[in-house]
């Protein structure tokens, strides 16, 4: 008996020792492998200065670096710049740059390269995102080989956010000189992955940059495939054809999480959806009507039933992960109060109006509009639902005030700079009315504009955030729309994929640390 006992212990020990390295190996990151990423659309451009889409920006992060960069919680970190100082008057910012970085074409990264990139934004070429920089920066100087100085037109408290924006990827001046606008077909950056080919409508291939300054990336290759159909993307993930997909329909998420064969990650994005009012059209010029409609909508129920919890109710138009977000008090669901306010405004039996919505542009946009329509009907507001194809929608919403036909319309806005001012200013400011800016509500509140201007000119973060909080309170008291929610970006991954970046700026991409079990 004793001998059997000892034999058993010996077997267990040997077995245990044999198992441990196996278990250990399964947890250690490995080098190598190809990531197959199922994206919902082709990139619009592989040139960071000219991209406006989530897919394009994701590529920007995989092929490029920035002077400073956002982490997964939208906090600023050094990247190509190691340290920086700001002058007392806020007009000059000086950055010290890394010395060990090369572009994918072998040319060196230095202050000249940075100046070239920003001159490009300020100059006649006017890439798509030049508006981010040309209103803020007056000029850029090379101080020495690895020091660069920005001279601003006025103090700007969010300068670092603008530098971390996806569009501000630093590209190779040599490549831009050679290709000009066609840089999108031959992108060259400093990032962890290098461009190989782009077969339009099918896939983009990237390979590892062995000389990446932060260290050799783990993944050897990334293939981003264009899979437009939502269900096909999910099925492909389940079949193992893709390791990573974005934008999962919310109704699939409970089943996928329950089955556990793939990993689902839901990150709060800062894309805020609202039903905007055209405040120049009656009865939306009456603040009581606008407040009433906010009370009439049960936002929690919409989040629970339409989004399966994959969204967050927000008090105004600023999502929770933005710099300057303040948890001000929003509108609770109170249909009785809604009816009372409508009666006070002279509409005891409600009124007729139209509700415009796109379809397929935002997550569950059409269903959201339908739900709001029904809830408004319950307080007597008869809203006729009209759907628009996205191109036609944008064309229609760009019309100036006298030609604008919109009354209520579903629209989203996501400040790509990750800060509240950009979440508010372009769509609410008095001097951003269409067609000059993006304010298609023709909303104008002088107090709001004052507070925003003060926040921009602030020299301390506390002052900046305080003005922004007050601005958000103004937005709630004097609503520009029915404030609804900020969606969550759902990402599906193979269980073998680890350390993907999923940022609230709706960016899903691989960085040098992403790895895949063999």
């Amino acid at each position: 008996m004793r001998r059997v006992g000892w034999a058993l212990i010996l077997v267990l020990m040997v077995g245990g020792i044999a198992l441990v390295p196996g278990a250990w190996a399964a947890m250690q990151p490995v080098s190598g492998g190809t990531l197959i990423y199922g994206a919902g659309a082709d990139p619009d451009s592989l040139d960071p200065a000219n991209t406006d889409s989530n897919t394009g920006e994701a590529f920007g992060h995989m092929m490029n670096n920035y002077l400073v960069r956002f982490d997964a919680k939208v906090k600023i970190h050094p990247d190509l710049a190691t340290e920086w100082t700001q002058s007392k008057d806020g007009l000059t910012w000086t950055f010290k740059l890394r010395k060990d970085v090369k572009f994918h074409d072998g040319t060196p990264f230095n202050a000249e390269a940075v100046k070239y990139n920003f001159d490009r934004f300020l100059g006649p070429e006017k890439p798509l995102k030049s508006g981010l920089h040309d209103v803020i920066i007056k000029s850029v100087d090379v101080v020495d080989e690895y020091t660069v100085r920005f001279n601003l037109k006025a103090p700007f408290a969010f300068f670092l956010n603008n530098l971390a924006h996806s569009a501000t990827g630093i590209v190779s001046p040599a490549a831009h000189k050679k290709w000009g606008k066609d840089l999108t077909l031959h992108p060259v950056g400093t990032g962890p992955f290098k461009f190989v080919e782009w077969v339009r409508g099918d896939h983009v291939t990237l390979v590892r940059n062995d000389d990446y300054y932060e260290g050799k990336p783990r993944l050897e290759k990334i293939i981003v495939k264009t899979v437009r159909e939502d269900s096909a993307r999910v099925l492909g993930l389940e079949a193992g054809d893709y390791d990573l997909i974005v934008r999962i329909p919310p109704e699939e998420v409970p089943r996928l999480m329950r089955e556990g064969k793939v990993r689902i990650d839901a990150e709060q994005s800062n894309r805020a959806l609202r039903i905007a009012f055209n405040v120049t059209k009656k009865p939306f010029d009456d603040v009581r009507v606008r407040q009433a409609l906010n009370y009439a909508v049960d936002k929690e129920s919409i989040v629970k039933n339409i989004y399966q919890g994959l969204a967050a109710v927000i008090p105004d138009v600023v999502g929770p992960l933005n710099v300057g977000y303040a948890p001000v008090k929003g509108y609770p669901y109170d249909p009785a109060k809604a009816k009372k306010l409508l009666a006070e405004a002279g509409f005891p039996n409600g009124f007729k109006t139209t509700l415009w919505t796109p379809q397929g542009r935002y997550l569950k946009d059409y269903e959201l509009a339908q739900a709001v329509q029904q809830q408004l009907a319950a307080v007597g507001v008869d809203a006729k639902l009209e759907t628009f194809e996205w191109g036609a929608y944008m064309a229609t919403l760009r019309k100036p005030k006298d030609e604008a036909k919109q009354e209520m319309y579903l629209i989203g806005w996501a400040p790509s700079t990750g800060e509240a001012r950009w979440g508010i200013y372009p769509i609410m400011s008095c001097d951003q009315w269409r067609p000059t800016g993006s304010n298609d509500s023709f909303y104008c509140n002088k107090k709001l504009d004052e507070l925003i201007a003060k926040s921009v000119a602030s020299t301390t973060m506390k002052a900046r955030d305080d003005y922004l909080r007050q601005a958000q309170e103004v937005l709630v008291q004097d609503p520009a729309g029915i404030y609804l929610l900020a969606t969550k970006e759902t990402v599906g991954m193979s269980l073998k994929l680890h350390d993907i970046i999923n940022s609230p700026l709706e960016l899903v991409y691989a960085d040098k640390d992403t790895w895949k079990e063999p």
């Binding site: 006017k126 099918d202 096909a232 492909g236 079949a239 054809d241 944008m394 269409r434 000059t436």
Partner: protein, 306 residues
């Protein structure tokens, strides 16, 4: 015959003019333009005006159209406004793929369709006949979208036998060819059956049988060739449809074909891409029609072309 074929090919020129003129006009009548879509939500009126000028969209429509025609005649189809890829390259890539897919699908469709239709006609009202005609009804009625997703669910997700989409080796064409071919198979089957049944009632078939030929020879040598003419019409139409716009199949299976190029180009108001794709689709349709007409002459020696 050769002169006839050449004359038909010459007719392609006015057809292409007409097609590009109509698609150009339609695309400009629709609200929205590529500058607004490229500019995005954040673009100001100044940004959009600048993009328009860059792509020559601010010129009068006639000038734009004539410039397009002039360039096209020299082989320069322009660049995609949305992505800057040269349009000619895009058209070649997509057409090459669509040809592959369509050939695979028409192969699937004709094999299943002809077999089912001919066998059904020889065993009219049998179990096989009823079953295959029900199958045909199913094939025509099922939305291709649903069938595609169902095939992916069964063969890719549950059985892991085939890929769920994308391109690669021949394996990647199997499920799309089945999905795209099924509706055509149904139509071909029904037409083949009806046509064979009609031919079977002809006097010359009765004569052939009376001459003592085996049934199989009677059907296949004497009957089939004559029955094929209406089937050929259907075949040509179905093939033409596949070449022109299998956009639903291409979307479900993520395939880079010409259908998706055209539809996605329309959504982005990508004028050069839409013009180019329309020209390709029109050309393939005209050529397929021509091939069908020529094929008639082979099946029916009485048909002559001057």
């Amino acid at each position: 015959m050769l002169r006839y074929v050449l004359r038909r090919i010459f007719m392609l020129i006015p057809v292409l003019f007409g097609v590009t003129l109509v698609s150009f006009s339609l695309l400009h009548l629709v609200p929205g333009d590529p500058a607004e879509i490229l500019g995005g939500q954040e673009a100001t009126a100044a940004d959009i005006a600048r993009i328009r000028a860059e792509y020559g969209l601010d010129k009068p429509l006639v000038v734009q159209y004539l410039r397009f025609v002039g360039n096209a005649l020299r082989g320069d189809m322009g660049i995609s406004i949305a992505s800057r890829h040269p349009v000619r390259e895009l058209l070649f890539q997509r057409l090459a793929f669509t040809l592959q897919l369509s050939l695979a699908s028409i192969l699937v469709a004709s094999t299943i369709g002809l077999l089912a239709g001919i066998i059904s006609s020889t065993r009219q009202y049998s179990v096989f006949d009823t079953a295959s005609m029900l199958g045909a009804l199913f094939g025509i009625s099922m939305p291709i979208f649903w069938l595609g997703l169902l095939l992916i669910l069964v063969f890719a997700v549950k059985l892991h036998w085939l890929p769920s989409g994308g391109t690669g080796s021949l394996r990647y064409l199997i499920l799309p060819a089945i999905a795209l071919g099924s509706a055509s198979a149904a139509v071909i089957a029904r037409m083949a059956r009806a046509s064979m049944l009609e031919v079977a009632r002809q006097d010359y078939i009765r004569t052939a049988r009376a001459t003592g030929y085996r049934e199989r020879v009677v059907i296949f040598r004497h009957g089939l060739k004559n029955a094929m003419i209406p089937v050929l019409t259907v075949f040509g139409l179905e093939f033409g449809y596949m070449l022109g716009g299998a956009v639903l199949t291409e979307t479900v299976f993520s395939l880079p074909g010409i259908g998706r190029l055209l539809v996605e180009g329309i959504f982005m108001r990508d004028y050069p891409v839409v013009q180019g794709a329309m020209m390709v689709v029109a050309t393939t349709f005209v050529l397929v029609n021509l091939l069908t007409d020529v094929a008639y002459a082979f099946f029916d020696p009485r048909i002559r072309y001057e």
